[in-house]
C-alpha cells in the first residue's frame, strides 16, 4: 500500500506541475507590480525625519555628565561617524567585546554621558530612551550610505562571534520548529509576496544586511537592526531576545561578514 500511495502522489505532483505553469505568469505580474509600488514610494523615505532628530541628539549634551556623543568611538576613532557603520560589528579593545552599532552606542552613552545601559536594554522599542537610540542610529547609518560593507573576522573574538552566529542562524526551536534558515537559506523563496533573501550567500546577505536599519511602512516606524532581529525571533515564536545580547550580535556578525563587498543602502525603506 505504501508504494501505491507514493505513486499516486507522484502522478499528482506531475499534474500539479502542469497546472502550475498558468499561474506562474499571474504571480510574475504580481511581483512586478510590487516592484513598481516600491519604486513609487522610494522617493521620500521618512527615515530622513529620524536622521535629522538623531543628528541633534548626537550633538546635544545629555545624561548625568551632560556631555554630547560627539567623541564616541565607533571603531574608526573618537568622533568619526562617517563610514563607521559599514564596518560594524567589530572587536573593541576597551570593552574586550565584539559589539554591533547599538551595543557600542550604549557603551558611549555609559562612558561619555554616564547613562545606565540597563535603562536602554529594558525600554520598549519606539519609546523613551529607545526612541532616542533609534534616531541616533538613523543618523549614524546614513553617514555610511553608499559605502561598501567591510567587516573583519581577523581578531579571534570576531571569528568566534561569526562562528557562533552561523550556528545560531540554523538553530531551530519554538513550537513551529523555525530557525533563521527556515526562511533565509534558499534562493527564490517568498513569504506571501515578500521575497526572502538567502542570507547564507553574499548576494542575499547584502540585500538583507545592506538595507537595515529601515523605515518600515507597515508599522510607520524606523526600525534598528536590533528591532528587526527581535521581530524575526517573535515570528519564529522564540522567547524575547534581550536587547544587545550576544545572540543578536553574533547573528549580525554572520550576516555582515557574509554580506562583505555589498553596498550599505541604509536607511532603507521596507514593507
Amino acid at each position: 500500500m505504501q508504494r501505491k500511495l507514493t505513486l499516486g502522489l507522484a502522478s499528482g505532483l506531475v499534474a500539479a506541475l502542469l497546472t502550475m505553469t498558468s499561474s506562474v505568469s499571474a504571480q510574475k505580474s504580481a511581483t512586478d507590480d510590487i516592484a513598481k509600488y516600491r519604486e513609487m514610494i522610494a522617493d521620500g523615505n521618512p527615515s530622513e525625519l529620524y536622521e535629522a532628530a538623531g543628528e541633534e541628539l548626537w550633538k546635544k549634551p545629555a545624561g548625568p555628565k551632560n556631555v554630547t556623543l560627539e567623541q564616541c568611538n565607533l571603531g574608526l576613532g573618537p568622533g568619526v561617524v562617517k563610514g563607521a557603520a559599514a564596518q560594524l560589528p567589530r572587536y573593541f579593545k576597551d570593552t574586550n567585546k565584539v559589539q554591533d552599532l547599538e551595543s557600542r552606542l550604549m557603551t558611549c552613552m555609559q562612558v561619555l554621558q554616564g547613562r545606565d545601559p540597563e535603562e536602554m536594554i529594558d525600554a520598549p522599542f519606539q519609546k523613551g530612551p529607545k526612541k532616542d537610540m533609534e534616531a541616533i542610529v538613523a543618523y549614524v547609518v546614513t553617514l555610511s550610505k553608499g559605502d561598501k560593507i567591510k567587516v573583519s573576522t581577523a581578531h579571534p573574538k570576531e571569528k568566534e562571534m561569526y562562528d557562533l552566529g552561523k550556528r545560531a542562524f540554523f538553530f531551530q526551536g519554538g513550537p513551529m520548529d523555525f530557525s533563521c534558515a527556515s526562511c533565509h537559506a534558499e534562493n527564490g523563496k517568498r513569504i506571501r509576496l515578500q521575497d526572502l533573501p538567502n542570507i547564507t550567500e553574499q548576494k542575499g546577505a547584502a540585500l538583507g544586511w545592506g538595507y537595515w536599519p529601515a523605515y518600515r511602512v507597515s508599522s510607520g516606524q524606523f526600525w534598528t537592526m536590533q528591532q528587526r532581529l527581535n521581530d524575526c525571533f517573535r515570528q519564529q515564536r522564540f522567547p524575547f531576545p534581550i536587547y544587545g545580547s550576544d545572540v543578536t550580535i553574533a547573528l549580525s556578525m554572520y550576516m555582515a561578514k557574509t554580506a562583505n563587498g555589498g553596498t550599505v543602502e541604509t536607511p532603507g525603506l521596507k514593507r
Binding site: A16, P175, M176, S179, F233, R234, Q235, D246, A250
Partner: protein, 214 residues
Amino acid sequence: MNMKITRLKQLLAATGFIFATGLVQTPALAQQKNDPKFNKMIQESFRADGIAALNRIDQDATQKFCSDPKFADSKQGQAMREKIQKMNMDSIKQPSDGKYIGDWKNGERIAQSGRGATWTDTAETPIGGGCYNCHQIDYKEISYGNIGPSLTGYGKIRGYSPEVVTYTWNRINNSKAYNACSNMPRFAHFKLLNEKQMQDVMALLLDPESPVNK
C-alpha cells in the same frame, strides 16, 4: 515497477525537486558537537515574555538534528533521519470521530491567518495555520508564498482516495513524519491547531466543493 520508479526519479530531478536527500553523496560527516560556549550564549540571550517561555529554546530531538543541516542531509545522517521520521509518524493520531473533512470555508480562514503563539499574543489568541505564507492554495489568492509546493487543485489532481486523505491528514499533523527536516510546522505535535481546525484545513484541500478543487 522498478523501471517506473527510475523514471519517476528522473522526472523529479528534471523538474527541480530534490526529493530524497539521501541520494546526494557527501563526504564523511559527523553531527556537530555540543558547544558549551554556544549553549551559554543561547541561554543568556533570551528572556521569557508572556506566553513565550524560556523552554521554547530547549530543543527536542528533531530540532536538534535539523539545526545541523549539513549532517541532516548527509548519507551519514540517514539512519538518524529515518529514526526521527518514525518517531514523528508514531506520534500522529487519526481523528477521534473518524471524520477527516470539515468545513472548507473555515479552513480558508485558518489558512489565511499567520497569527498566534508569539509573545505579543495571549493563550487565547487563535493560532492560524499560516498556510498561504508558504503555499499557493485557492488560486484567487494572489498573495502566497513558495517555501512549500503549490496546493492549487489539490484534491482534483490527486483524487479523494483514502490513501490521499490519510497522507494529507498525517502531513498536516506532523510533516516531519515524511521529511525529518521539512520546513512545515508540526501542527498537532505542538497543538498549534486542534482536531477540528485540521479537519477544516483538510476540507479546504479535499472537499470537492472547496474553491481549491474548482
